[in-house]
Amino acid sequence: MAAPAKAKTPQVSDTPAIQITNMNKWFGQFHVLRDINLTVYKGERIVICGPSGSGKSTLIRCINRLEEHQKGDIYVDGIALTSDLKKIDEVRREVGMVFQHFNLFPHLTVLENLTLAPIWVRKMPKKDAEAAAMKYLERVKIPEQALKYPGQLSGGQQQRVAIARSLCMNPKIMLFDEPTSALDPEMIKEVLEVMVDLAESGMTMLCVTHEMGFARQVANRVIFMDMGQIVEQNAPEEFFSNPKSERTKLFLSQILH
C-alpha cells in the first residue's frame, strides 16, 4: 500500500524499513494503541497527526522501544523487537530520534553531545567522530556553536543540534516526536528547513507533527490517528483536499484555517 512518490523527492524503494502488524499496547488498564498495522518503506516520509492523547507519540516511541508493546509484532530493518536487550540496542543504533523538548545533555558541549554516541556506541576514534560531528553541524548551519553548552543556545538551535546528534549515528530511519511544538514561530522555520533538507536526501522519516505545510511539501503519506487507532491514511493531496472519515474532516477543519 505504498503511496505514490512525488516527482521532486527521492524514490521510495519497495523494501520495508519498518513493519508493524496487529500491534497493541496498554498503559495499565488503558488501551492506548489498538490493532496498529503499518508498513514503512525505505525512503518513505510519513507524517502522523491527530489530536493529543491519540497515541501518535506512543506509536513512534514503540519503534525504538522507548515504550514496550504487549501484543503484535514490530520489525525494524528486519530485526524483531522483543525484550532481548541486544536486539533493542541494535535497533536503537539504526533509528535516530528527535524529541519535542530536544533533550540535549546540558552538562556536555554541543560537540560532545554529538560525538558521545559515535565514540561509545560505534567505537569511533575521537578525531573521526569530531570531524563527522562538524560536518553535521555545518549541515544544520550552526558549526560556530560547537563549543558552547546547550543552555546557551536558542530553542531552534538546540533542536537543530538534536537533529545533528541523531544524524551522527548514521541512522537508517529518523523519528521526529513533535519537533517544533516547543518552539517560537520564528524558530520553527529554521528547524523545518533542516527537516526538508533531510527528507530530500532520501532519509526514511516518521514525523509526528502538526506542521501541515511540511506534510504537503515532503510527505508521501499522511496518517491520521485518533483514540489509539489509525483512522485514515493517504497521500497528502488526497488527505487534505478529500478526507474520507468524519473524524478526519473535523480535525482538519480545526487546524487548517
Partner: protein, 498 residues
Amino acid sequence: MANSSNTLAYVRNEEAPLLPPPPSMAGVQGWILANLFPSVGQGIVSIVAGAILLWVGWGILDWAIFSAVWTGENREACVGEGAGACWPFAQSRFAQWIYGFYPIDQRWRVNICFILGAAALVPMLMPSMPYKKWNAIFLLLVYPLITLILLTGGNFSISAAGFLNAFVILALFAVFLPLMAFGIEEGIHYNRIGLGLAGLGVLAWFASFAIGSSDWYTSWGNFAPGAVAAAIFIGAGGALGIAQLRGSGAGAAVLRSWLIGAGILLGLMLILKIDFGLQTVETSQWGGLLVTLVVAVTGIVASLPLGILLALGRRSKMPIVKTFSVMFIELWRGVPLITVLFMASVMLPLFLPEGVNFDKLLRALIGVALFSSAYMAEVIRGGLQAIPRGQYEAAQALGLPYWRVMSLIVLPQALKIVIPGIVNSFISLFKDTSLVSIIGLFDLLKIAQTTSNDAKWASPQTAPTAYFTAALIFWIFCFGMSRYSIFMERQLETGHRR
C-alpha cells in the same frame, strides 16, 4: 516621551539612554543602606545582631589570645586568676593529639602518609591540573596500599588458605564471565556445565560447614575436604567459563578486565606478604588525628561508590536488586551509628568462627563505611530523581547501554545537583568519627579529652583548651570541604556560562 503610552499610535524616534544605577545600589554606603538599614525595624535587628556578634567574638578572642597563657612548664602557669587558654599544655600534648600512641621513633611513617596524601589530593582537586586519570589511580589504588604498609608495617601473614580463598573468589567470577560478555541468557547457555560445577562446589563448601569442620583449612597441606572439593569444582567451572570467551571481541574485553582484576588482587596479596623490615605497629597504638582521618577518609571513599550502586539498585526495575537495596538502606539507616559500632566490636565476634578475629579498627571502618553508604544512597537517589526522563530517553535512543547511560549522562548531572547533600554527608561523617571512641579507639576528640586529665596540667583551662583545639581542627577540615564544594558547584555550572 512620557506621554507615549497615552496615545494610540507611537513610534520611538530616539534610543532611550543607558543610565548608571541609582546611588542606593552602588558603593559601600549604598550596600549598607540597602542591606542593613532598609527600614527602622531591620535597622534595629542589624544593630542588636551586630552587638551580639561583637560580644561573642570578643569573648573568644580574649580567651584564646589576649588573656591566654603562652609559656609555662606545668599547671602553675595556667591556674592564675582570669587566665585564658592554656597553650603550653596544648603544645606539650599536640604531637599525641596527632599521632596517638604511635611509637615516637616511627612517627615519620605517619608523616609520609600525611604528606603523600596531601601531595596527591591537592592536584586531584584542582581542575586545571593534568594527568587526572593517573592521579586518581594513584590515590585510589597505590596510596591506600602504601598507607596500609607504612602504618601497620606490612609483612601480613597471608596463609595458603588466604590464597585458596582468592583463587576460589576469582574462579567464581570467571564462571560468570560469559554472562557478562554475551548477556545473561546466552551466557548461561554457553557455560551451563561450568555453572553446574560451580554450584556443586558451593554445595560442597556449605556441606563442609554442616558436617562440622567449620574452618576451611588449618594450615599448609591440611585443608578440609569440603574446601578442596569447592576449590576444584569452582576452579573447573571458572576454567570452562574462560574457555567460552575465546574468539569474540566482547569476550576478550571481559577477559581482559578479569585478568587485570586477578592481577591486582594477587599482586596486592603478594605485596602485603613482603617483609619491608618495618616495625609492626598494632592499630591499638594508633590514635588522634591519624585515627580520625583513617576512619573518615575510608568512610568517604567507600561510601560514594557504594551509595551510587545502592541508589541505582533502589531505582532498578529488577525486583531482587531493588529489594536488596531497599532492605540494606533501611536497615543501616534505621540503626544509630553507636549501635553499629557496638555490634561491630562486641557482637560480630560471636558470629564468626572461633579463631577468626579481625582488627577492631577494621571492624569500625567497615561499620562506618556501610552506615554512611546507606545515607549517601538516599542523597544520590534525590539527585537521580531530579533528572528528567527525557535525558534517559535521549541517551537510550542513541543506543547507549544502561551503564553508559548512567555513567555518561545521568550520574554526572545527578551528582552535580546533590553536591551540597554529598558534602553534607561527608562533613557529618567526618564529625561522627568521634563516636569510635565508644569502642575504645582513641580518635582526636577522645585523646584530647584523655590528655586533659593529666595531673601535671590540671587547671580550670586545660579541658577547654583541649576541646577548643580539637574543635578547631575539626572545623578546619569541615570548612575546607564546604568551601571546596561551593567551588566545584561553580566549576560545573554550564547553564549560564557565557
